[in-house]
Symmetry: C2
C-alpha cells in the first residue's frame, strides 16, 4: 500500500478540486514548474494549458485566476511545511532543539522526505522564496484573509510562536519573532543567490550560514530577555 500525504485545502481556493483528477494534478504539477521557469508575472494559463496539452478553458474550470492558483500553491506549501515541522519535532523535548530544527527546515533546501507524487517540493520551495510574498502583497489581502486563505501560514507561525514561548515564557514577541524567522529564512536565501551584497554569505551560497545567522539572532534574543 502506498502512503500518500493528503492535505486538506480550503475549498474556496478552487472551482474544482485539483487533487481529484488527473488534469487537476497536472495543473498543480506544471504550474509549479512554469512559475519557476517564467516567474509569476509571465506565467499564464495559456502557457500552462499548452504545457499540459489541454486548453485554457480547461484550467479555468479548476482555478478562477492565476492569483487563486498562487494562493493554492502557497497554502499547500505552508501546510506541508507545518506537517514536516510536526514530524521532525515530535520526539524532541527541549524547545531550543525544536527551534533549531525548525530553523533548519525553513532555511535549507528540502529533500523529498515523503512521497507527494505530483509536487516537486524542491522547486516549490524555490518558488515560495521568490513568489510567495506576492500571495499576500495585494490590494485584496483583507478579503483573502477573511476567506482564511492564509490560515496555513498563520498556523505555522503560531506553532513556532508556541515553541518560542516554551523556550522563554517571558519573551514578549513570539509571533513577530516567528514571522521574522520564516520571512528571513526565505529572504536571506533570495538575497544570497540574487543580491549577495545584502548578505554576509557572499559567493559561498551556503545555506548553513543562513541557519547559523538565524540561530544566533533568535537565541540571543530569547536568552537575553529571560
Amino acid at each position: 500500500m502506498e502512503l500518500q500525504l493528503q492535505i486538506k485545502m480550503n475549498e474556496k481556493l478552487f472551482l474544482r478540486d485539483p487533487e481529484q483528477t488527473e488534469l487537476g494534478k497536472k495543473i498543480i504539477q506544471f504550474s509549479i514548474l512554469l512559475i519557476h521557469e517564467n516567474g509569476f508575472e509571465a506565467f499564464t494559463f495559456k502557457k500552462l494549458a499548452e504545457e499540459i496539452e489541454s486548453t485554457e478553458a480547461g484550467v479555468y474550470r479548476y482555478f478562477e485566476n492565476k492569483h487563486k492558483l498562487l494562493l493554492y500553491i502557497t497554502a499547500w506549501y505552508w501546510s506541508w511545511l507545518e506537517y514536516r515541522v510536526n514530524m521532525h519535532i515530535l520526539n524532541l523535548k527541549d524547545p531550543d532543539r525544536k527551534l533549531k530544527k525548525v530553523i533548519r527546515l525553513l532555511a535549507t533546501t528540502v529533500e523529498d522526505d515523503i512521497s507527494t507524487s505530483y509536487v516537486n517540493e524542491s522547486i516549490l520551495h524555490q518558488i515560495i522564496i521568490a513568489e510567495g510574498s506576492k500571495a499576500y502583497l495585494t490590494k485584496h489581502v483583507t478579503a483573502d484573509n477573511k476567506d482564511h486563505f492564509f490560515q496555513p501560514y498563520k498556523n505555522l507561525c503560531a506553532k513556532i510562536g508556541d515553541i518560542i514561548l516554551e523556550s522563554n515564557p517571558k519573551y514578549k514577541y513570539p509571533k513577530s519573532l516567528s514571522s521574522t524567522i520564516i520571512e528571513m529564512a526565505h529572504i536571506q536565501n533570495y538575497f544570497m543567490y540574487n543580491l549577495p551584497s545584502l548578505t554576509d554569505f557572499g559567493k559561498v551560497n551556503d545555506e548553513s550560514k543562513i541557519v547559523t545567522f538565524l540561530e544566533e539572532l533568535v537565541f540571543s534574543s530569547l536568552k537575553k530577555n529571560k
Copy 2:
C-alpha cells in the same frame, strides 16, 4: 531661495529624465498616488495618463514600462532614506544611539522633513512597504542588478552594516542583520495592518512597538556576540 533636495538617479531607469519637466514630475507624483490606490498590479500607464490629463504615449516617453517606473520610485525612496539617515546620525557619536535612530527612521511613518515638492513621502513609504519587494522579486533581478538599479538599497544596507560593526566589531553578519532590520521594519508593519495574527502588535497598530521589537532583536544579538 528654495532649498530643493535633488537625488541623482541612475539614467538607465528612464528614457527621459522626469525631474527635468513638469510632465515628468507629474508622472512621479501621480504614479505614487495611483500605485497606492490600485496596487502595482492594477496600476497602468493608461490610468496614469488619464489622471494627469496626458496620454499613454506621453508616459512611455519617460519610462519603458511600469516595472522601470517602480524601480525608479524604489531607488528614489532608498536614496532619500539614506540621506535622511545621514542627516539624523550626523551629530551622534554612540553607534548604539545611531542604530536606534536608524530603526526609528525605518519603522515609523515619515513626517515630511524636507521639501520635496512633488513627492508625498508618507504615501511613498506605504507603497514601498506593500510593493517595494516586487522591484527585485522578478526573473530579471540579475540583469537589473548589473544595471545597478538596486544600488541605493545596497548603499543603505552597507551604511547600516557599518554602524553595526561600530557597535560590535566582532559581529559576523552585519549586512544580513542590516537587511533583516530593513525588511522587517516594513514586513512587520504590513503584517500589523493586514495580517495582525502574524505579529504581537494586534489591533494596536502602534509602530513604536515594532521599533521596540527590532531594538531588542538587534541589541540582544550585538551584545551577546561581543
